[in-house]
């Protein structure tokens, strides 16, 4: 009796519950999400880059004319704007595949939390979605532009940030999760790469250009390439890749390029006797000799040492520039405050409330240890007849 009752109710349960499932062909996959603030209408504008399904059998090509469509809608809240998309879209939008979230300049300057709230609250959006701020254009326009070889520009942007980190080492990628964490945690602020549309002779391309520093939920300013790289050195986990160009030891007009194999930064705040906060930054970096512009013999022990020194100075300069810029903008992107709270919670509790009062005149003590390791195919410099 018991068993049959249980079974029949189970079967009924299965049949009675409505089907929440969706056919794949009823959906459309969102690759990029963008949000901006339309000041004129006092409304949010939500735009999404939707990928068109690729026909099977690898018949797609890299340059499919229209591999995607960009749709956008406005609404009073970001969520509503997103739902409003269904007014023009005959498919059910799927958010979990999104790879980039784009924050419009307007909304970043108004209040980033407005956007982030809707993203973080939504269970359909993964927290490892990359984040960029777009300036000089709207997210919608940005997504309309194709990146070379990658028809889906939203996917392209994350790849660009990844690859430039491996080859150039300028911008540090940030995900929504980290962004939220940094935005909400006292003593640390996010730094987000900026994507813009650059017009060349006959076409438009997306370019990562500078990064946006936030302070108190608002974008307060922009770091240029050099400063962004200064920030990148200090990203605390092990970094690999990137290059640095330093003046040549024999001729300061010419340059020597070094490739960075790995860097590791340690940031330790301390409070000296006078009660000043001093941040000790220790960076160890390994590099390879990659290119020289002169024909001088640079590959000997003496010059190696000199180059190590110059490179260390150069890195130090970049870091210092970034810190100065951050202090100008009053945005603690390096997380000095948070570091302090970890090392010296007591002191932190005292100054937590007006941290930015202290932040702008924090002293830093940067120590860079750069090691040159190898040179590539040639052992010595070019000799001329």
């Amino acid at each position: 009796m018991n068993k049959s009752f249980f079974l029949s109710s189970l079967i009924l349960l299965i049949f009675l519950s409505g089907c929440q499932s969706l056919d794949v062909n009823e959906t459309s996959v969102a690759i990029g999400l963008g949000l901006d603030w339309e000041a004129s209408q006092n409304q949010f504008r939500f735009s999404a880059q939707l990928a068109k399904p690729i026909a099977a059998g690898g018949e797609s090509s890299e340059d499919d004319e229209d591999a995607f469509i960009v749709v956008s809608e406005t609404g009073e809240t970001a969520f509503l704007a997103a739902r409003n998309l269904t007014l023009i879209l005959p498919r059910f939008p799927l958010w979990p595949h999104a790879s980039t979230a784009i924050l419009g300049e307007n909304i970043a300057q108004k209040d980033a939390a407005l956007y982030i709230d809707s993203l973080v609250r939504n269970p359909n959006i993964r927290k490892n979605v990359g984040l960029v701020v777009c300036t000089g254009t709207t997210p919608e326009q940005l997504m309309q532009v194709k990146t070379p070889l990658e028809p889906l520009s939203a996917l392209g942007i994350t790849k660009i940030i990844d690859i430039q980190q491996r080859l150039l080492g300028i911008y540090a990628p940030i995900t929504i999760g980290e962004f939220t964490y940094k935005l909400s945690t006292p003593g640390i602020e996010p730094l987000v790469p900026i994507a813009t549309v650059v017009k060349t002779e006959d076409s438009e391309v997306i370019k990562i250009d500078g990064s946006a520093a936030f302070s108190e939920r608002r974008m307060v300013g922009k770091l240029n390439e050099k400063e962004s790289r200064g920030y990148h050195w200090l990203v605390e986990d092990l970094q690999a890749g990137g290059i640095i160009t330093i003046p040549s030891p024999d001729n300061p007009q010419k340059f020597v390029t070094l490739e960075i194999i790995k860097t590791q930064a340690k940031v330790k705040p301390c409070i000296n006797d006078k009660g000043e906060i001093i941040i000790n930054i220790k960076l160890t970096a390994d590099g390879n000799f990659y290119e020289q512009q002169t024909t001088e013999q640079l590959l000997n022990l003496k010059n190696f040492k000199t180059m190590e020194k110059i490179a260390a100075e150069e890195i130090e300069k970049e870091i210092a520039q970034a810190i100065i810029r951050a202090q100008e903008l009053n945005s603690d992107i390096f997380g000095f405050g948070q570091n302090l709270s970890k090392c010296n919670p007591k002191a932190w509790r005292k100054i937590e409330d007006n941290w930015y009062h202290y932040f702008s005149d924090i002293k830093t003590n940067i120590e860079v240890d750069f090691r040159l390791r190898r040179s590539y195919l040639t052992n010595s410099s070019f000799k001329f007849s």
Binding site: T158, I160, Q164, L167, L168, V205, E291, Y376
Partner: protein, 392 residues
Amino acid sequence: MRKKIINSCLIILLILSSGCWSSLNINDTAVCSGLGVDITDTGKISVMVQINKSVNPQNEEGKLTEGAFVVVSGSGDSITEASRKVTLSLPRMPIWSHADLFLLGENLVTEDLSILYDFLFRNRNIRKSSYALVANKASLGKIYNSDCPMALCSARGILKILFSQEKNLGIYLPVTIKDFFIMASTPGIDPFLPMVTVRKDLEDKDILTLDGTAIFKNNKMVGDLNETESRGLYWLNTKTAGSCIVVTLSDNPENKVSLQACKINSKIRPRIKDNELVMDITCNVDFNITEIIGIVDEEDEELMVKIQNAANKKVASHIRQAVAKGQKANSDFLGFGLSISRYQPKLWENIEDDWENRFPSVRTNIEVKSNLLRSNLIFNDVFLVNKKGGKP
């Protein structure tokens, strides 16, 4: 037993801890077919990259050529930096080692090449067997963006043109990075590179064409050879036969004979004559007759001698012009110095330091010997045969 467990744990850890550092998924890469370096007006170095799009095997052939490439560029303080700045707007990892073409911009070659050498040879991703050319009177972007008919992209197109003209026409010599490098680093020879430019075709579209040879001295381009002078260089350097020339017979300017070289053997040898250095340039060429224009009313043997003489003169004049140009620009691209160092090493030791001053006034003695081998399918001029047949 315990030892075994520890060992196996170590191995497993080793495997797990080893990420795949250098691994790169093939769909995250972009194949570069051509590279180019130039200096911008602001003094920065700019790098231009032509990237092939992947080719779908199931596509029809016709679709291949249209927009099969993209051109991206970056700029920076050094070549490496500039080339890597490309990635700021390229969502793929560029693979350099497939690039067959290396273009040098006009500004770069006229300013200073020394910034380039180290990059070219130290970088493991640059293929040393790829070909170098100089962009003449056109920006790199223009060259890479222009069409090249029947080729996947302009970079490959230029190379195809370079090879086919070498085999069929014989004007310009392809120079690989390795050759260029050897010429630059060996005392007694200066490098040269073929030049490419953009020209308008009949429908007013940009097409690529080879135009002249750039010659260098002290890491700078000091002049260029025109077509005839380039031919002079070609006669002295080539190993591929196939060059085509047209000679005019001495008696009648209407009578023209096209000759195709099928074997070229040339030598440059130093000789001391009356305490003076003379460079003996000998060039032996075997020709085939490919075409005779005009009515030639001569006996066979005389005709042959005439053609040979004309050919000798022509080739010698090519060489002479090239030598003159080189001496004028003080660029020893023919390698006179090298030849002295090889055949008169003692003499070279004495004059090596002074070579730059001595080179422009070195006397040359050009000797060309041509030899007619076959006259392809017909033996005589068609008209000649007819005429002969008509005679009693």
